[in-house]
């Protein structure tokens, strides 16, 4: 263990330069974020992830955000275990009918102010699962969505761009 730890000290960090926030994400967010709320929360957001029927691909890439290359926590973003501790719900999947109630209850359990980020192509509008008897067809059909991050699944860099846009709203003028 000592050797592994020493190697970590002598090698430079693997963590990479942060991407700039995505333009599309900034445009979508400028309409939905209140200045006062932003001031209150500062540059730190607690995220509760909710899988509402994803294939697990999005979860794998969300997990990757915690690895040494992306190191999500340096931005003040962290994943929390309960919606009661969360500012942001990060929702994946087309929202299956079997998960609709659980998602609604998670949303209601999250204190205001809160934002919902829908992650992945099927969270956007049901994607390839649209039309099934078992899915509602996108997160916005069930809870209000502030930001969509597209992709199947979006890469960790794409997810980071969206989340950094959430943080950077202070510098963006509202339309």
């Amino acid at each position: 263990m000592r050797r592994t730890l020493l190697e970590s000290l002598t090698h430079g960090p693997l963590t990479e330069t942060a991407p700039s926030p995505g333009d599309a994400a900034l445009a979508e967010l400028s309409a939905s974020l209140e200045r006062t709320a932003r001031r209150r929360l500062g540059r730190s957001l607690a995220i509760r992830e909710v899988d509402a029927g994803s294939c697990n691909g999005c979860e794998l890439e969300i997990h990757a955000l915690n690895n040494a290359f992306y190191d999500l926590e340096r931005f003040g973003l962290r994943f929390v275990a309960s919606p009661r501790h969360a500012d942001v719900l990060l929702v994946t999947g087309p929202v299956t009918k079997n998960m609709r109630e659980a998602l609604e209850r998670t949303y209601l359990a999250t204190p205001d102010p809160k934002w919902v980020v829908a992650l992945g192509d099927c969270a956007f509008d049901g994607g390839i699962f649209s039309g099934s008897y078992a899915v509602t067809g996108g997160v916005s059909r069930v809870v209000p969505v502030d930001l969509h991050i597209r992709g199947c699944p979006p890469s960790p860099v794409e997810i980071l761009k969206g989340l950094i846009a959430l943080l950077d709203m202070q510098t963006v003028k509202r339309p």
Partner: protein, 507 residues
């Protein structure tokens, strides 16, 4: 003469490849169930079929295997009155599969020990969506968990929304103090109706759905689906495509095994392994992105071959990545092996007995950590594995530690396999055109988690029926058994060492 040919009497149905499908009588169906119970045959899957043509009688199919020889067959039984003899009555691994058939098709397993719905949690507008598909009744009884009796027991309901970044499912623990007396799972929260969406779909659309059945096994599912289609149409992917498929499959196995080894140790609060293994996983995914244009290699294996060739400098990049990963991983194995406090958590925890693994034909590392010597790559030797040199690590302890070591040894085998594939990569086309036609095909492909089964019936190049059986179906029930008598705090550790798929199971 194998047990399979001894027992099977029935009319052979045409155009089913590569293994036979037989239409059998209820007597033969029962006899097969008896062979499972006696341990002479393994159950690979049971699924319903109402077909796209309305005239077709509803039926149930069952895929069976003689484990020593790797002989496989599908037996089919028509359910004229909507019932069939329950296999679960004598062979418990069939119980959940039969409950799912009932919820999806309305077909009743006569004599079944458990008739509670499965996958259908009471939120759909319809019932029996793949069968009669009629409006759901409004007065359905509440779901009843199995009774637990005893002094001073308490229950802990967990989920569907869990504390980590994981898939949703419900776990009902009954504990006496710290010790788990019973775990009962309730799954189905991520049921998306994939098999319904596949019915009448084009092969292209169905392939995309198959690739999104379980994201961590997207390559394995794509290969299984492609091989089933190719079997149905009696064609083969070109040799280069088969090699590239195997390359991607081993990449997927490496990425997941790296992730799992780190995550299991993390659930024992040994986070340095998690951080280090996360680096290895990321390096594999980045190499996959550079070589195949997608980190998870989604939609890269397609019926007929593969969608993209290996990137020009891909082979060198892969060799470099593997060399570095192998070196780093060796140090991490040593770290795992020399940390007594970590071994204290993993050794002797969550034991799957060898007889359970045999009974359930437990796929993947769950079976192989409990003495079941089965790996579809070896036993069925589908190309290109028939020409590659590798071993199948098997252990017998059946605990969390054994499931970690099986993964570690499999990582070593995968690295060797990838090197062999790169050395023997044939030139030539990467896909054959899939002409037209109809037929039925079955494929069994070894994903990182275990064997993925894909069965398809094509009618004029449309999917009439496709069934995908995730290895998790035969692993989830063993987690219930393995956790009994362990402390509640060890559940995350056990659960992660199984790493069953929710989405693949719920479909």
């Amino acid at each position: 003469m194998t047990a399979l040919t001894d027992i099977l009497q029935g009319e052979r149905v045409g155009h089913h490849r590569p293994w036979p499908r037989l239409s059998v009588t209820p007597q033969t169906w029962r006899a097969v169930a008896g062979e499972f119970a006696a341990g002479r045959l393994a159950l690979l899957g049971i699924w319903g079929d109402a077909g796209a043509t309305p005239k077709m009688e509803p039926m149930v199919h069952m895929a069976i295997m003689e484990e020593n020889s790797g002989d496989i067959a599908v037996v089919s039984l028509a359910c004229a009155d909507g019932t069939y003899p329950s296999v679960g009555a004598v062979h418990p691994p069939a119980i959940r599969l039969e409950r799912a058939i009932h919820s999806l098709y309305g077909l009743l397993p006569a004599g079944a020990p458990d008739m509670r719905p499965w996958l259908d949690l009471g939120f759909w507008d319809v019932q029996y969506p793949l069968g009669a598909c009629e409006p759901a009744p409004t007065d359905r009884p509440d779901y009843v968990f199995l009774p637990v009796e005893g002094e001073s027991l308490h229950q802990i309901p967990v989920g569907p929304v869990h504390a980590g970044i994981i898939e949703p499912g419900h776990f009902r623990f009954t504990a006496g103090g710290e010790t788990i007396v019973r775990l009962e799972q309730r799954l189905g929260y991520v049921h998306k109706g994939i098999e319904s969406l596949m019915t009448s779909a084009t092969i292209e659309t169905a392939a995309k759905l198959a690739a999104r059945t379980s994201g961590d096994s997207t390559v394995a599912y794509s290969i299984a689906f492609a091989r089933a289609v190719e079997a149905a149409l009696n064609l083969e992917a070109p040799p280069r495509a088969q090699h590239i498929r195997a390359l991607m499959a081993e990449f997927e196995r490496l990425a997941n095994h790296f992730g799992d080894v780190g995550a299991i140790c993390n659930d024992a609060s040994f986070s340095i392994m998690h951080a280090q293994c996360g680096i290895l996983r990321e390096s594999v995914l980045r190499a996959a992105d550079a070589c195949f244009g997608h980190r998870l290699m989604m939609d890269r294996a397609i019926p007929g071959g593969v969608a993209c060739d290996l990137a020009p400098d891909g082979a060198n990049l892969i060799r470099r990545t593997l060399q570095e990963a192998a070196q780093r991983f060796a140090g991490l194995i040593e770290l795992y092996d020399n940390t007594a406090s970590l071994q204290d958590r993993t050794a002797g925890t969550g034991i799957v007995r060898t007889e359970w693994a045999r009974q359930f034909a437990a796929p993947g590392y769950v079976g192989r950590a409990s003495g079941r010597n089965f790996d579809a790559r070896k036993t069925l030797a589908y190309p290109p594995y028939d020409r590659l040199d590798f071993s199948v690590p098997v252990m017998t302890a059946g605990d969390v530690n054994a499931r970690i070591w099986v993964r570690i040894r499999e990582v070593e085998q995968s690295i060797s396999l990838i090197r062999q594939i790169l050395e023997s990569l044939p030139d030539g086309p990467i896909a054959n055109p899939i002409g037209g036609g109809s037929g039925e095909g079955l494929a069994l492909v070894e994903g990182f988690r275990g064997d993925v089964l894909a069965w398809i019936r094509l009618e004029d190049m449309r999917v009439a029926r496709c069934h995908l059986r995730d290895p998790s179906w035969l692993q989830w029930p063993l987690l219930e058994a393995a956790i009994e008598g362990n402390i509640v705090a060890d559940f995350p550790l056990c659960n992660k060492s199984f790493n069953c798929s929710y989405s693949g199971h719920d479909l």
